[in-house]
Amino acid sequence: MDLAFTPEEQKFAADVRAFVKANLPADVRDKVKNGKHLGRDDYMRWQQALGKKGWLVYTWPKKYGGPGFTPAERYIFENICAEEYAPGIIPFGTKMVGPVIYTFGSDEQKAKYLPAIRESTVWWCQGYSEPGSGSDLASLRTKAEKDGDHYIVNGSKTWNTMGHWADWIFCLVRTDSRTKPQEGISFLLIDMKTPGITVKPIIMMDGGHEVNEVFFDNVKVPLANLVGKENEGWTCAKFLLANERLGIAAVPQSKRGVEALKEIARAEQDNGRPLIENQGFAEKIADLEIQVTALEYTELRVLSQMAHGGQPGPEVSGLKIRGSEIQQRITELTMEAIGEYSAPYLPGLLWHGTNEAPVGPDYAHLAAPRYFNTRKTTIYGGSNEIQKGIISKMVLGL
């Protein structure tokens, strides 16, 4: 057991830092640093740079084109990217459908889809949830019926994150409605340009557009796009949900968030002194920092287990729970630090990158929308109530 990095690891860290400094577009870095919203192209430019280097799919095994990072290297990579204000990697291709394809897909599918995910030339989105199927995902109703060498898909998906930017969507669809709900589900890859697909925005409470409804009206999908066997899609879904829960703790981003918060607390005034000197507020930050550290070390312990051959089990649900609460707390305290200057709502500046001058400091207008928006973290990817349900059943045997 050793907390210190080996010389090789230190060398690796230096390489990563140098790479990020050289390849992260300055405008993207600035947006991330200042907490601004990123556009599709911002993500793509960075992810393609990572792709060229072979680092985008840093969690993949070597066999499928991953860099074969050790757990320590992964940790270093994620942290340095966050420290250097790289955007978070959009997980839908690299962390979700990619691993499903290399685990359950045919050789043709691997050859067809994996390169574009590795290089980030195709944008994926996730089509799981439906209006009537959120927490109870297995109750989903979007239907796929066989018609020759195609499926005909009908139904609707909802909450698709960045579906309006996506080239492809991976979907859970119902291929058998007579069996137990979990047993009639299949995993389909669908080109978003196929006729019959409509995307309709859902506006979030901060006024932003990041999620969508996706409607399928007699959409023809080749049978070749089925991953795994028909009616065995639930296996892929569960596999993916476990993967999803790990990254979602977002520890490196939260560490960065705490630093950003401290900077704001240094800039804000409280009775003529920097707010960070206010004992009550300083204690709240300290408390938050301790929570982040506890989460980080828990994640390191899980990574270390995985390094010794384990798969992430249901206990990673605990990471998502704490991680999401911490993300929320960061935004809550950031807004608290800014106080009444969080009140002005400046949609132009927030969403359209206009040249409008901010009211108060530049960071002020982002705080409340971010707080509002981050309420999502305890809901998506399996709500915290559901996560706790899973832990109590699978880990505690209740």
Partner: protein, 402 residues
Amino acid sequence: MDLSLSDEQKQLQDAAERFVRDKYTFENRRKIVATEKGFLPENWAQMAELGWLGMSFSEADGGYGGGPIETMIVMEQFGKGLVLEPFLPTVVLGGGMIASAGTAAQKEAQLAPMIEGKKQLAFAWLERQSRYNLADVSLKATKEGNGWSLSGHKGVVYNAPSADTVIVLARTSGGAREEKGLTLFLVDGKAKGLTRRDYPTQDALRASELTFDKVSVDTDAVLGTVDTAFPTVEEAVDRAIVALCAEATGCMDAINAATLEYIKTRKQFGVPIGKFQVLQHRMVDCFTNAQEARSMTLMASLKIDDKDAIVRRKAASRAKVQIGKSGKFCGQSAVQMHGGMGVTDELAVSHYFKRLTMIDLMFGNQQHHLTRYSAPCWTPSRSWRSPPSGPSATKWPARPSR
């Protein structure tokens, strides 16, 4: 001791409830938000006609002799409907300060038309560095000939875009953050040298940044006496806090009711999600929180007229702490229990959540008021041993006779 509403107060409550029900369906409200002013002048006129703009002022000041309980009653209903008309900045803050510090001429010029619904007010105190310290004011007013000249900046001034008169807190002497040396000025909203940057707020109200560039006013623009505005401001803000608390109570009732309804109807796993015990208990906690918020708001409304400034301050801070805590709990829980629907703009919950969030930040958040409340110089309150001279039920007309 008697905690029940008088008949007149019940009538007022009914009238306010009816107003909200008729004018503030969620879809109606969306339309009002989208109007240029962000509220409806005809609603304002109706409030004047119903006597609400004058109810809390003394008859001598042209009002109907009500008090904090009446304010509490209407604000609570306004909270239920997320009412957008600028009652707080105009009536509670602006009107309150003019009533307490104004000369007869100022009352005639400002308060009387305000009560009739013909004049709106705004209160400009916050500056970039102020945070929650009401005395942290550096906008300067200097003597100039027969009057004063104001220069500096004010931020997040609610209702400034529609205000005929802006009440400005300025430094006339003393150093930064000194309570002495502050003066209130009545400044015409269209005064020369006053520029506005208007914007909506997170919770769909309207506010402005104000820049004062040598704005000249006469001596009679001074509200109260020079250098001694602080106690007036502090008291008016304490009253505004209690009114805000009442609004928050209404928001909590509404958001709890909506959530309860949602978890009874939304089905997952073949049952209404309200069958899951974690949600049941959280829902119970929401109602408990709202109960406590209501209790504290009521207590504060009963004590805010106390002659003893310490009793008054403690009452306001106590209620604000509770509202911050309860509002956050109810708001966050409501969003969570709505799942994905909770984070969208589509349902009313997120709008209540945003308002509750902003209420916590106004005039000092939970932390600020806990610190203020626990200031060691304040003796512990003895609620019933030295009973406050609480307001008794007052009469005011359901419809003014004029």
